[in-house]
């Protein structure tokens, strides 16, 4: 079985507002795709994504696997810089190892 991977540029992500972004991600993941966001999601967006995901969970879609690097903080914590986030269907993606600057994930489809 083939698995599609969408690598989304930061420019594309920045052209959408938060809710558009999350719906775009969730739609892709529900279709079975792995979505990689160059600019990443903020913690608040990730929490909202979990909330939206839970409303969609059913027998065929148990949820998502999500991994990302922590946000980088700017001067006086006033500006936060998000980094890469990877989101995939929980059925096929499993994070094996996650460190501050390394994410190792296994993607397997039956």
């Amino acid at each position: 079985m083939e698995i599609k991977m969408d690598l989304i540029s930061e420019d594309k992500i920045n052209s959408m507002d938060s809710m558009e972004k999350l719906k775009f991600v969730l739609e892709g993941v529900k279709s079975g795709n792995i979505v990689v966001l160059e600019g990443g999601l903020t913690s608040e967006e990730q929490m909202k994504l979990i909330e939206l995901t839970m409303a969609e969970v059913n027998e065929d879609f148990p949820g998502i696997e999500m991994s990302g690097y922590p946000t980088k903080k700017g001067f006086l914590n006033l500006k936060r810089k998000t980094r890469l986030t990877v989101i995939g269907p929980a059925k096929i993606m499993h994070t094996i190892k996650k460190e501050k600057d390394l994410i190792s994930a296994m993607i397997s489809a039956i």
């Binding site: 979990i50 995901t53 914590n77």
Partner: protein, 234 residues
């Protein structure tokens, strides 16, 4: 995600801390499933309210707590309750003046936060398929409820299992949200009574937050956690 309550600026946090200190702090007990949130909440209630009262049932089945439960009017008074610690030997370094701390709070025991809920997981614990599916549905609703409670919380005790890898996305997302909202957060590194517990991993993973190694089940090091709660959530 911009809403009035979510993005509390540094200035408004400062003003609130200086001039509008709440009489009762609303403290959310958060964490992934099976970290020991309900066991900790029960321990707090046993110590400061009624030793026979439980807020919920703790079992090894994940998502046992599927609705947020709030218990109001708890007074953490370390001066009067210090003798109730069931394991006094574990607190030899936390005596004297620090025990004067006092805090009035409401605790909210929340369902475990997760990015996925698969009903098959419950069947592995012996539940019938229909029961497992029903529990999975309730668990998803519980996660949503836990997230919504974040808008109404003054402080968070984030419970982590010291025997597990702490650097999970769920833990990172919870901490990131606390930091963005300016909500004080204490990490309770739970289950230190288990032989392969490694609370130092949690301390190393989240050095920017206070990490208190505890066993909510055995009551180990609880006074240190209460002292930190009284200090941070007042």
């Amino acid at each position: 995600m911009k809403s009035g309550k979510k993005r509390k600026g540094i200035l408004s946090q400062l003003i609130r801390a200086l001039f509008f200190r709440k009489k009762t702090a609303k403290v959310g007990i958060y964490g992934p499933p099976n970290a020991g949130k309900t066991t900790l909440t029960n321990r707090i209630i046993h110590t400061f309210v009624d030793e026979n009262e439980d807020i919920g049932v703790a079992t090894e089945v994940p998502h046992e707590t599927r609705r947020a439960v709030r218990k109001g009017g708890i007074i953490i008074d370390l001066k009067s309750k210090s003798l109730l610690n069931p394991n006094p030997d574990s607190n030899s370094n936390s005596k004297s003046k620090r025990r004067k701390a006092k805090l009035k709070l409401d605790v909210v025991d929340t369902p475990g936060l997760a990015t996925k809920i698969d009903f098959h997981e419950f069947m592995a614990f012996g539940l019938e398929e229909e029961e497992a599916k029903r529990r999975a549905k309730e668990a998803t609703e519980g996660v949503i409820e836990a997230i919504k409670w974040l808008d109404d919380i003054d402080g968070v005790v984030l419970v982590m299992d010291s025997t597990e890898d702490p650097y999970t996305q769920t833990n990172i997302v919870i901490i990131g949200n606390m930091e963005a909202r300016g909500i004080p957060c204490i990490i309770a590194a739970n289950k230190v009574d288990i032989s392969d517990a490694a609370p130092q991993r949690i301390i190393d993973a989240f050095p920017q937050h206070p990490v208190i190694p505890i066993s909510a089940l055995k009551g180990e090091n609880m006074e240190r956690l209460y002292e930190e709660m009284a200090r941070r959530f007042r």
